[in-house]
Amino acid sequence: MSAEAEEELVRNAQRGDALALAALVDRLAPFVGRICGPIALEHGEDAAQEALIAVLRDLSTLREPRALYGWARRIAAREAVRHARAARRSPPLAGERPELPAPGDPALARDVRSVLEALSPEQRAILMLRDLEGLSEQEAAALLEVELGTVKSRLSRARSAFKRRWSS
């Protein structure tokens, strides 16, 4: 879909067009899921659903349709960190954790998951945004509403912790 067609779709959705909204759901659901999963882990689906609801509910407040994905990314990351923080306060009972839904070797997926679980939600968020989503440090700082220095130090600690735990 061209950029112009995408803008038109967002504008129609903002006007309450059910089919345009449904088409946006098709595009945004996997997008927010990809962000929420690695940050909120087993609560990723819940975070993604709430992020999707927040994005669609507040869609009329988006002034620039071209900013849709950046705006949705910010909402999804915040929602995922919020869920992950809440989960840290009430850890799941043994046996409640579903396996990480990832293609490939299930053992590898479990290893990745156990390393991610050892990081804080804030560290997972910065790793996700910087190393998987490819955001700059400035963009990640703006998205997470923290100082650039905080992003740099948090990213450094997150990468060190990931490498240390992965190789241990």
Partner: protein, 140 residues
């Protein structure tokens, strides 16, 4: 199901209800998938439906209300997912298996034209249609 909830949240004039139907997904969804024969059996505001055009998962429909009033609708229809938009209303349906022999079904209806004030009326329609669909699928 989560997607339909999100979609309904973006249209504050619709009324969404969910239920579990004690029938397999394939049987439940067959009433939606076979739109011309299936939908009029449980959708109280539709006496007849005609498919005017089909392009992949996009449909152009004409529905006739019990009083004869005809309305054109555009729709997206996929397994477990159906959204329709007409000049005077919106309809959404989603379904997913819920264990052996059961189906979770979500349904919304509303009218942007009538606005939020009509939500109680649409809640009644949705609950009535869900009960009819459950009775049909569970009896079949």
């Amino acid at each position: 199901m989560a997607r339909l909830r999100a979609l309904a949240a973006s249209m504050p004039w619709v009324s969404l209800e969910e239920t579990v139907i004690e029938a397999p997904f394939a049987r439940v969804w067959s009433y939606i998938d076979d739109m011309e024969r299936g939908v009029p059996q449980f959708e109280g505001n539709v006496r007849r439906i005609e498919i005017l055009a089909r392009d992949g998962d996009r449909l152009r429909l004409r529905s006739f209300a019990p009083g004869g009033f005809a309305m054109k609708l555009d729709a997206v229809l996929r397994p477990g997912w159906c959204v329709m938009r007409g000049a005077f209303g919106e309809i959404g349906m989603a379904a997913a298996p819920a264990g052996p022999g059961a189906t979770r079904f979500a349904h919304f209806e509303g009218s942007r034209w009538l606005g939020r004030a009509a939500r109680p009326l649409f809640r009644y329609f949705v609950q009535r249609d869900l009960a009819r669909l459950a009775a049909l699928a569970e009896r079949a």
